[in-house]
């Protein structure tokens, strides 16, 4: 177990280094540079600004400095917002994105397992058809449409109730999070439902279920201890990629619902060509995702010991 963990963490560190390198050289090969605006009007100002951001040194040296700073957890200063460190931006906005993302993943996983198990139990009957129809809808409709429809629905609901049941946009309380998290998790939930259904159907015809029935276990116990537990394994495997998809896919939901998350900040930084913020958030997000995937893999290998042996 320890050897496996160590191996995965080492791989993760190399991956993060790869992401950082790709981002660094990507950003430095951009035509023009962040200072070629009207701010660097004279040669002297320009030289000063370059010295401040360390752009006057050779690329190789800049790269070494960048890696060194990164190891110390310092991503530099924002280009557009002077005196604001990238770390501050991340510290301030990432918790918002993370809260939203975790809530969305929870909704997606719980919903997916529940609906998937239901469809398998009611295979080829009405509940199965209804849920699978909704699943196809969930996979085919883009999240921004769901977001818009959700807001529209809330507006209608609030005006029908005559008071604000749930806020339409913004951030702050749990009631602000519910709809965005649901919208964010919807696509993943649909995908997980599909996965859960097929794995549940496979489990239901397994020999050990027959054995369990034969020794007279009650159906409820067979369902919770034998079927659900085994069928849920493939859903855990996709949790890692799902977290990745949900946290990076959060931009749209954050934009539509006016949530001050890191995703929205990233899009804004890209639009303003704020290079340090772009690099910092990319590396941070990349590292976060890589280690989330590793965490999920470790949990999986703990749940299913067969994985470790491979």
């Amino acid at each position: 177990m320890w050897a496996y963990t160590l191996k995965r963490v080492l791989q993760g560190i190399i991956t993060v280094w790869f992401i950082a390198t790709a981002t660094f050289f990507g950003m430095h090969s951009v035509p023009g540079d962040p200072l070629s605006g009207e701010r660097a009007s004279t040669e002297a100002i320009r030289a000063n600004l370059e010295a401040r951001y360390g752009l006057d040194r050779p690329l190789g040296e800049q790269y070494v400095i960048f890696l060194g700073n990164m190891l110390r957890g310092d991503f530099g200063i924002s280009y557009t917002q002077q005196n604001r460190e990238v770390n501050d931006i991340i510290r301030e906005h990432f918790p918002v994105s993370a809260t939203l993302g975790i809530l969305a993943v929870m909704i997606a996983a719980l919903g997916g397992v529940l609906w998937g198990a239901l469809t398998a139990l009611y295979r080829n009957r009405l509940p199965d058809y209804i849920i699978m129809f909704l699943v196809i809808l969930g996979i085919s409709v883009p999240s921004f449409v769901f977001a818009a429809l959700g807001q529209l629905g809330l507006v209608g609901l609030n005006s029908a109730a005559g008071r604000t049941l749930l806020p339409v946009a913004g951030w702050g309380t749990v009631s602000h999070m519910l709809l965005p998290a649901l919208v964010l998790g919807l696509g993943t939930m649909a995908y997980m439902t599909r996965l859960m259904r097929s794995s549940m159907l496979e489990v239901m015809s397994a020999d050990y279920i027959r054995t369990a029935k034969a020794k007279g276990l009650p159906m409820s116990r067979i369902f919770t201890h034998h079927q659900l537990r085994n069928a849920v394994l493939p859903v855990i495997t996709v949790l890692g990629p799902a977290i990745a998809a949900i946290t990076t896919g959060g931009f749209v939901v954050e934009l539509v619902f006016a949530i001050p998350g890191l995703g929205r900040y990233f899009v804004q930084a890209v639009q303003q060509l704020d290079y340090t913020v772009i690099m910092g958030t990319t590396v941070f997000y990349g590292a976060f995702l890589v280690f989330m995937v590793i965490l999920v893999d470790l949990v999986y290998s703990w749940v299913d010991p067969r994985v470790r042996l491979q």
Partner: protein
């Protein structure tokens, strides 16, 4: 042959040498022999959902490539008289006289009489002329216009003007008038210029008009036809309505389909080909080369996808407001090939161990033969299914990027950017959001269902189940 063995000799006759008629001794085949692909096609045809989605995909291709030849409307052309109109809206307009300034609040004969806030002339999209009687205790007046019936004195709409001149009790509205109902209100202002709670309202039903010169310039009537004031002309027809700039929705959907399908079909095709070549060579080479190649693929897989899609736009020097269709294509190819490569490598590794490959090797088959005859045909099904599922995800990505403004730039239409624009007018003109969103959903749905159907049809396990 038996005649030689039974010990009886007889002379052979001519009839012994005539061919026998049709007589089959071997039992008939239970089912006709079909190739793998024929078999898959038959199974696909039997799957009604897959068949419907196949028709949908064909229809979509027709819509994209044949559609613009039939519906020859410029997707960037603005029809300023018909902005944000819903599909099937009334498009008739009356020919009116050219606009002439209104002096001294003259009232047209048809509108003489009446009291309170009233009209002084027929309200048209050229101008609305309002007239009211002096109100007691009024120093000045403020004119408001609202799109909705006025229920609350606090919500009167947009203030259009303050009337501060003495003995002026009329107002002419020429501000961006549309053919619809407006609710005007005139509020009395006190000597300090503050609105009081004394006001009058009137509902005005504005009719769409066009001047004869204008109608001729735009080619709404034939060159030889005469136009008199009061004639009815038809404005350009927009089957699916127009957007917030008066551009034809149908033409824009067709133009957007080109962008979406260009990205949606070409990107998967390219990266699946790259992935197949990479994965197949890794799987075929095996050993150290395979390990190194796959480790590199693992790194690329670990890159946060959407973040790097956006980064690519920046790296290519595509700022916000510029069209980055080709960079988007390249980014998709660069970021997504490893998934196919992994899949194909797995397949190749599996096939390499199959008994029929060993048999072929034993019989002296060359590498060339093995690849062409066994590896490729046996992975083709999986590749085809991957390709079908890759299309919706590429279309989604394009829509997503265009939606956040990192995809195509404004004059170019794309379903994603149309959704983004439609979102702003969602409450008042839902059709601007509904149509592009529906196009995305239908396309993605069709390709997903087709992929499902193909997977079932190409799965050899299903064959024995029949």
């Amino acid at each position: 042959m038996s005649q030689y063995n039974d010990g009886v000799h007889r002379t052979l006759r001519d009839s012994d040498f005539e061919p026998l008629g049709e007589q089959s001794t071997t039992p008939l085949l239970v089912r006709p022999s079909r190739s793998y692909w024929q078999d898959a096609w038959i199974r696909l045809k039997a799957n009604r959902r897959a068949l419907v989605s196949l028709y949908l995909v064909i229809g979509l291709l027709l819509f994209t490539f044949i559609g613009p030849m039939i519906w020859r409307v410029d997707p960037a052309l603005q029809d300023v008289d018909q902005i944000s109109i819903a599909p099937g809206a009334d498009r008739s307009a009356l020919v009116a006289e050219a606009y002439e300034p209104w002096v001294n609040g003259q009232v047209e004969p048809d509108f003489a009489g009446g009291s309170g806030l009233r009209l002084a002339a027929e309200p048209t999209t050229l101008r609305v002329r309002l007239l009211w009687d002096p109100m007691p205790g009024a120093d000045n007046y403020r004119v408001y216009r609202n799109n909705y019936p006025i229920e609350d004195p606090q919500a009167l709409g947009i203030p259009l003007a303050d009337i501060t001149r003495d003995n002026v009790y009329w107002y002419e509205d020429r501000l961006d008038l549309r053919a619809r109902d407006y609710y005007y209100a005139v509020v009395v202002l006190d000597e300090l210029g503050q609105p009081t709670d004394q006001f009058e309202t009137v509902e005005v039903n504005v009719g769409r008009v066009i001047t004869a010169v204008e109608a001729r310039n735009r080619g709404l009537v034939g060159a030889g036809e005469s136009l008199a004031v009061g004639d009815e002309v038809m404005m350009p027809w927009h089957p699916l309505g127009t957007d917030y700039l008066g551009r034809d929705m149908l033409a824009r959907l067709m133009a957007g389909a080109r962008v979406s399908l260009f990205i949606g079909l070409l990107a998967p095709l390219l990266y699946v080909v790259i992935g197949v070549v990479y994965g197949a060579s890794a799987g075929f080479l095996g050993g150290k080369a395979d390990q190194v190649m796959m480790r590199f693929a693992d790194f690329v897989v670990a890159l946060p996808f959407l973040l790097f899609m956006i980064l690519f736009q920046v790296v290519f020097g595509i700022g916000p407001g510029e069209s980055g269709i080709v960079p988007m294509l390249i980014a998709l190819v660069v970021l997504l090939w490893p998934a196919t490569a992994r899949l194909v490598r797995g397949q190749i590794l599996q096939i390499r161990e199959e008994a029929y490959v060993s048999a072929a090797k034993l019989l002296g088959a060359s590498h060339h033969y093995l690849i062409l005859r066994h590896m490729i045909p046996n992975t083709l099904g999986v590749i085809l299914v991957t390709l079908t599922f890759a299309v919706p995800s590429a279309i989604f990505t394009e829509a997503f990027l265009s939606f956040i403004g990192m995809g195509v730039a404004p004059p170019t239409a794309s379903w994603g950017s149309m959704c983004n624009e439609g979102l702003k007018n969602m409450l008042t003109h839902p059709h601007e959001l509904v149509f592009p969103a529906a196009m995305i959903s239908i396309t993605v749905l069709a390709f997903n269902l087709l992929g499902d159907g193909l997977r079932d049809a190409l799965d050899a396990k299903m064959r024995s189940a029949e």
